[in-house]
Amino acid sequence: MIAVIGLVVGVVAGLALQPTVPAELQPYLPIAVVAALDAIFGGVRAMLDGIFDDRVFLISFLSNVIVAALIVFLGDQLGVGSQLSTAVVVVLGIRIFSNAASIRRHLFKA
């Protein structure tokens, strides 16, 4: 519940503050968001599995975001930024799907 409230608060804050993303962070924010989504789904699944742990959740959330951004940054330095960000999105997308499937099976038995 608090998580959902937090999500709403975050959205409202984003709408209210209307921040501008610094130019140097712009390529990384979308990737970081996808990585965070992956961590969230993983967290929900772990919760349903009954093995949720906030510390692991926090660490996996942050490390996902940082590693994803780092990969894209590295790709940009190597000149393959767009390809690597595609790769990251694909991998994270697969993970999100698999987590979503697990959650679905927990909740709907299907």
């Binding site: 937090g6 999500l7 699944r45 772990a46 349903l48 742990d53 038995k109």
Partner: protein, 383 residues
């Protein structure tokens, strides 16, 4: 029964299964060997459900182990933990749901007669089948409740560290999502790759150049219309200046200015036409703008002919002393003429004598009459 569920699992699960299969299989197989059929089937299912192990968050069990040694710390300890549940359960909110399931599961597993010792080893799959999947009919009700119950349990607002942490992270995520979405909407350019940006920049630059050209043209036109009389006057002025310049160069007009006077005395008649030509070229090289020899204006069409001691300029004989007048930078001209091995040296070697004097004012008064070219006509300008 569970077996026929496996094929129906979606791709992701299958993949996860594959990954998990190796490590998970061995202990499970060993453990359940003595058990009856259903148990084996369940172990398959267990492996299937065990796929969460792939996930970060599911890796959890390893983490809490340092806090509570028995608490889901290790897969193998898991079952033991499940049995110890009453003691462990309060420890961590996040884990609380698990023990509940574990209890039932452990109970079931233990329930089988010969299982006592096995139980600890059954651990890895222990919590999985309970919530994960369709189990044998007897197990079904529990899992059905569990998934939603876990969700509802988690949704209940409690100010625990886990809930607050998740809340903060979710707030962060929501914030980032909104920011990114807005960013994407607002500045489409920021999302573009370098090549696209370069293309757009090119187009913009091209367009801008075009417009700038147009501005220039229109401004010129406006100026021309605006000051027609001024323009005419200016053109006339320019033409006049041009005419003067051409006149001096072609020898049509007298000229004056700083320069040098070169006097050659050749009593013995030793100078050849080529010597004079040398001197002329040296003067031109040094930047002389108007040159006069004797009372002849020397121009591009002047010629030196004749023989040694009998030099003709444009067909007219010269007489010693030969006096050159040249307008240009005096020191440059003077130095150019007197360099070793240069024009004056040649003159002296031929047996004549010569002097070069710099003057502040040299008057080139001789002129030439120019004939209109008979054969050559100007090339029409492209524009």
């Amino acid at each position: 029964m569970p077996d026929d569920r496996l094929p129906s699992d979606d791709l992701a699960d299958q993949v996860a299964d594959d990954v998990v299969d190796g490590p998970a299989d061995d202990p499970v197989a060993d453990v359940h060997e003595p058990d009856d059929g259903p148990q084996d089937a369940r172990s398959d299912e267990a492996v299937d459900a065990h796929l969460p192990t792939v996930d970060d968050a599911v890796a959890t069990p390893v983490e809490p182990s340092d806090e509570t040694p028995g608490d889901l710390g290790d897969d193998h300890v898991d079952a033991g933990d499940a049995l110890v549940v009453p003691a462990v359960a309060p420890v961590d909110d996040a884990v609380r749901t698990a023990p509940a399931e574990d209890v039932s599961e452990a109970g079931r597993t233990v329930g089988t007669p010969e299982d006592g010792a096995d139980d600890t080893l059954v651990g890895p799959d222990d919590d999985e089948p309970a919530e994960g999947t369709a189990q044998p009919a007897s197990l079904a009700p529990a899992p059905t409740r569990t998934g939603w119950r876990a969700l509802g349990h988690a949704m209940a607002p409690r100010a625990t560290r886990a809930q607050l942490g998740a809340g903060v992270l979710c707030a962060l995520l929501g914030f980032a999502v909104v920011v990114q979405v807005r960013q994407n909407d607002e500045t489409a350019l920021a999302g573009l790759r370098q090549s696209e940006l370069v293309r757009i920049l090119d187009e913009t630059t091209e367009r801008s150049d075009e417009l700038r050209r147009e501005v220039t043209e229109l401004r010129t036109e406006r100026d021309a219309l605006d000051s027609g009389s001024d323009g005419q006057a200016a053109a006339l002025d320019s033409l006049r200046r041009s005419a003067i310049m051409q006149g001096i160069l072609s020898g049509r007009l007298p000229a004056e200015g700083p320069g040098v006077q070169v006097t050659l005395i050749d009593p013995a008649g030793d100078l050849q036409p080529v010597t004079m030509l040398n001197l002329l070229e040296e003067l031109r090289n040094a930047g002389a703008e108007a040159i006069q020899l004797g009372d002849h204006r020397i121009t591009a069409s002047s010629s030196f002919t004749g023989t040694k001691g009998h030099v003709l300029v444009d067909g007219v004989p010269l007489r010693t002393p030969y006096v050159w007048l040249a307008i240009g930078d005096p020191s440059t001209l003077s130095i150019a003429l007197q360099i070793p091995g240069g024009a004056m040296a040649t003159v002296r070697r031929a047996g004549a004598t010569g002097t070069v004097s710099e003057r502040d004012l040299v008057q080139v008064t001789a002129t030439r009459v120019l004939l209109d070219p008979r054969y050559a006509t100007p090339v029409q300008d492209e524009e």
